[in-house]
């Protein structure tokens, strides 16, 4: 799980072009959206593709993203549960 959270942080920094950000600046439990890291609906769409491309997980309804992408932790849990 720890490996996965670290990997996810790296992938998010890369995919969302968060230049100059380090993995330890993203808290595993912190909300990714809104008050937390400050991501928005466009980032959510980026994350949907990230899951599909790297983990083979397809999210059909963008609304489902709200729960899955709440934090790195929830993302990692979802991936572990659904990875094919």
């Amino acid at each position: 799980m720890e490996d996965l959270t670290l990997k996810l942080k790296e992938q998010i920094i890369e995919a969302l072009n968060l230049e100059d950000m380090e993995v330890d600046e993203i808290e595993t439990d912190e909300p990714l959206f809104g008050e937390g890291l400050g991501l928005d609906s466009i980032d959510a769409l980026e994350l949907i593709v990230l899951l599909e491309k790297n983990y083979g997980i397809k999210i059909e309804n963008p609304k489902d993203g709200q729960k899955i992408f709440y934090s790195i932790k929830t993302m990692a849990e979802y991936i572990t549960e659904h990875k094919s």
Partner: protein
């Protein structure tokens, strides 16, 4: 009356500060000239800039500076001209789409590739709900923004933010070079006028202005008139356009003190400027500037920046002199530009 009350420029020269710009020309020997990147962290948080290409960031920086100079928080309109839009993001999305057979595409580059991204991001940044336009007509893109801004002021608006923005990418440069538009080899910008071959020097830049209805103590200059014309047949047509332009602006040709021209090192295109000067302004001092910036669709916005700063400071950089005709006074400047003999324009600037 329309006054320039704020300006800002990011170009391949040190133009963000006119005094620094005056220190001297930055020399290049390159395929195309690229704008100098400011330290973006000084201007915006990385998270806010995460999706922005260079042009968008430069647009935001220049718009901020121009607004600050004019002491305007929220302009009555934001109007941007761009010939090409955001080429880097357009290419990114296009190449991903073609290389991955339409799979695993993400929205960011697509969204950012929209032509009106710069104007929209400025509005978003300063929460400006007013008129927001983007013109995309090759060498008329910036000029359309100026015409629109002047109309707004005539309609009673006070402060209009306008900008010309264009960026060049390696790939698009390569494709357009095939078309004969750019020089086939690297260009030495300080030797631009010595080339006898066809093909222009290519470049990019972002230049912003606040045009206002009110004259201030530190106003740069007044924009007296602007006119655009499309594909003139010959020099007679250009000369007659000049005559009617000056008539409409109610100014005599002898009252023009200085002419700023858009020489690009392209022999065929530069002949048009040389003929124009010889036939109309034989004894007048003249300047050029595209050895500083390279040619691009909205390069004329740099000429406006240069002219405005000359009228304000009365300092004319040596490295912009096209001839050595004596300069006694500078009250009225005519800017003449053409983009590959397709889009021609005149702008008349006067001391504020």
């Amino acid at each position: 009356m329309v006054y320039i009350n704020g300006t800002a420029s990011l170009s391949p020269q040190n133009s963000l500060d006119y005094n620094k710009f005056l220190e001297g020309i930055i020399e290049y020997e390159k395929d195309f000239l690229q704008s100098i990147k400011p330290n973006y962290k000084e201007y915006m948080k990385p998270i806010a800039a995460r999706r922005m290409s260079k042009t968008v960031k430069n647009g935001i920086i220049c718009s901020q500076k121009a607004l600050q100079e004019a002491k305007v928080d929220i302009p009555d309109a934001i109007i941007v001209g761009t010939g090409l839009g955001i080429v880097s993001d357009t290419e990114k999305f296009l190449e991903n789409m073609l290389n991955n057979d339409e799979k695993f595409l993400t929205p960011t580059a697509f969204i950012q590739s929209t032509h009106n991204t710069v104007a929209a991001q400025i509005a978003l940044k300063i929460k400006c709900h007013n008129y927001n336009f983007t013109y995309v007509n090759r060498g008329f893109s910036f000029e359309s923004a100026v015409i629109d801004a002047i109309m707004h002021i005539n309609e009673g608006k006070k402060n209009i933010l306008i900008g010309g923005t264009d960026e060049m990418s390696e790939h698009y440069f390569h494709i357009i070079r095939k078309n004969g538009r750019w020089k086939k080899t690297k260009v030495k910008n300080t030797e631009l006028l010595n080339y006898t071959t066809n093909g222009a020097i290519c470049g990019e830049g972002v230049n912003f202005f606040v045009l206002s209805s009110e004259k201030k103590e530190d106003s740069y200059s007044e924009i007296k008139a602007i006119n655009t014309f499309y594909k003139p047949e010959n020099s007679e047509e250009i000369n007659s356009k000049l005559q009617s332009f000056l008539n409409d602006a109610d100014i005599k040709i002898n009252d023009i003190d200085l002419v700023i021209n858009g020489h690009t090192g392209n022999a065929a295109g530069d002949k048009i400027y040389d003929d124009f000067l010889q036939e109309n302004f034989e004894n007048k001092p003249a300047l050029y500037y595209k050895h500083l910036t390279g040619e691009y669709q909205t390069a004329n916005s740099f000429a406006l920046w240069l002219g405005a700063n000359i009228l304000k400071t009365k300092i004319i950089p040596d490295f912009t002199r096209l001839n050595d005709k004596p300069i006694s006074k500078v009250k009225n400047i005519l800017i003449y530009n053409h983009y590959f003999n397709i889009n021609h324009s005149f702008i008349l600037l006067s001391q504020a």
